[in-house]
C-alpha cells in the first residue's frame, strides 16, 4: 500500500513535469510575472536605503504574488483541458494531491531561487544570516504549496476565477507569511533572529500538509 502511494505520487509528479516542459508558455508567464513584480518594487525604491523590515515585506509580497500566479494552475489546467474526470476515475486521492503538491513545491522553489537572488542584487541587500534566509524561503514555499494545492482543488468549478484563489489563500497562509517576514528581516540584519519561528513555520507547514491530506479525500471521493 505504502509503495503504491509513492508510485502514484511519482507518476503524477512526472506527468505534471512532462506537460509543463511541453507547455513553456505557463513557465514563461510565471517567471515574467515575478520579474515584473521585482522590477516594479526595485524601480519604485530607486536604490534608496530601505529598512530590513520593509525589504523583507517587499520580498515576501513579491514571492507571494508570483506564487499565486503559478500555484493555482495545478487543478485549473486539468479543468480546462477536461481531464479532471479522467483523473477522478483513475487517480487515488492521495497520489493526486501529493503528486501535485510536490510539483507545486518544485515550481515554487525554482521561482524563489530566481526571485530571491535577483531581489538581493537589485535592492542591494547584505544578508547577515544566509542560512536563515534559505530555511525561511524553503519553509515558506512548502507552506504555500501545501495550502495552495488544496485551495486550487476547491476553486475548480467556481463561476468566478480571477482573484478567488488569492482571497482564499491569504488568511490561511498568514501564519507562514508573518513569521517569514520577521525571520527575513532578521536575516537582513534588522534585529535578532528568533530561530524558534523556523520551528513554528515547520510545524504549521506540517499541519497544513496533514489537514490538506485529510480534507482532500472528501473532495475527491464525495459525490
Amino acid at each position: 500500500m505504502q509503495q503504491s502511494i509513492w508510485r502514484g505520487i511519482k507518476l503524477v509528479f512526472c506527468k505534471e513535469l512532462t506537460i509543463g516542459m511541453r507547455f513553456k508558455a505557463a513557465w514563461a508567464a510565471m517567471f515574467m510575472f515575478a520579474l515584473t513584480t521585482l522590477a516594479c518594487v526595485s524601480m519604485a525604491m530607486q536604490g534608496g536605503a530601505v529598512e530590513p523590515r520593509l525589504l523583507a515585506a517587499l520580498l515576501w509580497v513579491s514571492l507571494f504574488f508570483a506564487a499565486m500566479a503559478g500555484a493555482d494552475r495545478v487543478f485549473a489546467d486539468e479543468d480546462t483541458a477536461g481531464t479532471l474526470l479522467t483523473l477522478h476515475i483513475f487517480g487515488p486521492a492521495q497520489a493526486v494531491l501529493l503528486g501535485k503538491m510536490l510539483y507545486t513545491l518544485f515550481l515554487l522553489v525554482l521561482l524563489a531561487l530566481f526571485i530571491t537572488p535577483l531581489f538581493l542584487v537589485l535592492m542591494d541587500v547584505a544578508v547577515a544570516a544566509p542560512l536563515v534566509l534559505l530555511g525561511t524561503v524553503l519553509l515558506g514555499c512548502f507552506g504555500i504549496a501545501a495550502a495552495g494545492t488544496l485551495i486550487a482543488a476547491l476553486t475548480t468549478g467556481a463561476s468566478v476565477h480571477s482573484g478567488l484563489f488569492s482571497i482564499l489563500m491569504l488568511p490561511i497562509i498568514l501564519p507562514v507569511f508573518l513569521p517569514a517576514i520577521s525571520l527575513t528581516a532578521g536575516a537582513f540584519g534588522g534585529g535578532a533572529v528568533t530561530v524558534s519561528y523556523l520551528g513554528g513555520m515547520a510545524l504549521y507547514d506540517f499541519i497544513l500538509l496533514v489537514g490538506a491530506s485529510i480534507l482532500f479525500d472528501y473532495l475527491w471521493y464525495e459525490d
Partner: protein, 209 residues
C-alpha cells in the same frame, strides 16, 4: 460477484427532476442497457452508479459478497467510457495510458501496449508517438476503449461508447462488451442504438419528464 442496487432513486438538478423512482439491480456477468431519449438522464444514471454524485432521493449502493463497497474502493474497480472523458492533449497515447494505468498499479509494457492498440484497431505506427491532442475524434474514442480494456475493471460504465466510431468500431464495442460480461464483469451501457440494446441482457428505460 458485484451487484449495483438502485432503490427508489430520484435525481434532480436545480429543482428540475431528471428521473424518478428508479429501482434496479444489476449483476456481474450481465450487460444492462440504459435507454431513453436525449436528456432523459442516461449519463446521470451512470454517474450515480459510479458514485460520482449523490441522488436527490433514494439510494445507490454497490455490493460485493454482501459487503457494500466504499467510494474509494469502488473507484478502483470501475472503468468508464464517456464523451466527457478526455486524454491529456500534450501527452502521447502511450504516455496517457501508462500514466492512467500506472495510477491503478498496472504496468504497461511495450508488448501489452502494442497488443492493445491492435485490439482496438489503432494500427497506424505513428499513433503511439503522437500527442492525443492531434488525434481525430474516432481515434480518441478507440483510445478510450483501449484504456477501458487495459484497466482490468470489474465494472464497466459505457456512455454511448459507439459514438464517433465507424461500423467496424461499433462491432468491436459489441464484441468486447459481450466478452467482458462473459468474463464476469458488470456492464452498464447507455445507448440509443437498437442493435446495442438488443445485445443487452436487461434494460432500464428512462421515460423522461
Amino acid at each position: 460477484m458485484i451487484t449495483i442496487k438502485f432503490e427508489a432513486v430520484t435525481q434532480s438538478f436545480y429543482g428540475r427532476t431528471i428521473f424518478q423512482d428508479i429501482n434496479a439491480k444489476l449483476r456481474s456477468g450481465t450487460i444492462t442497457a440504459v435507454t431513453g431519449q436525449n436528456g432523459s438522464g442516461k449519463s446521470t444514471l451512470l454517474k450515480l452508479a459510479a458514485h460520482f454524485m449523490l441522488p436527490a432521493a433514494g439510494r445507490v449502493s454497490v455490493v460485493e459478497d454482501a459487503r457494500e463497497l466504499r467510494r474509494e474502493e469502488l473507484r478502483n474497480r470501475l472503468a468508464m467510457v464517456t464523451p466527457e472523458l478526455r486524454f491529456y492533449p500534450r501527452l502521447t497515447a502511450r504516455e496517457n495510458l501508462a500514466f492512467l494505468l500506472g495510477l491503478r498499479g498496472i504496468e504497461l509494457t511495450e508488448t501489452k501496449f502494442q497488443a492493445l492498440l491492435a485490439r482496438v484497431g489503432l494500427r497506424d505506427q505513428a499513433v503511439a508517438t503522437t500527442v492525443t491532442g492531434e488525434f481525430s475524434t474516432g481515434m480518441r474514442q478507440r483510445l478510450k476503449l483501449a484504456a477501458l480494456l487495459a484497466a482490468e475493471a470489474d465494472i464497466w460504465l459505457l456512455d454511448e461508447p459507439g459514438a464517433n466510431l465507424d461500423a467496424a468500431g461499433r462491432e468491436l464495442v459489441l464484441r468486447e462488451a459481450r466478452q467482458a460480461a462473459d468474463e464476469g464483469r458488470l456492464v452498464l451501457w447507455a445507448t440509443n442504438d437498437e442493435r446495442e440494446e438488443a445485445a443487452a441482457d436487461a434494460a432500464i428505460h428512462l421515460a423522461g419528464h
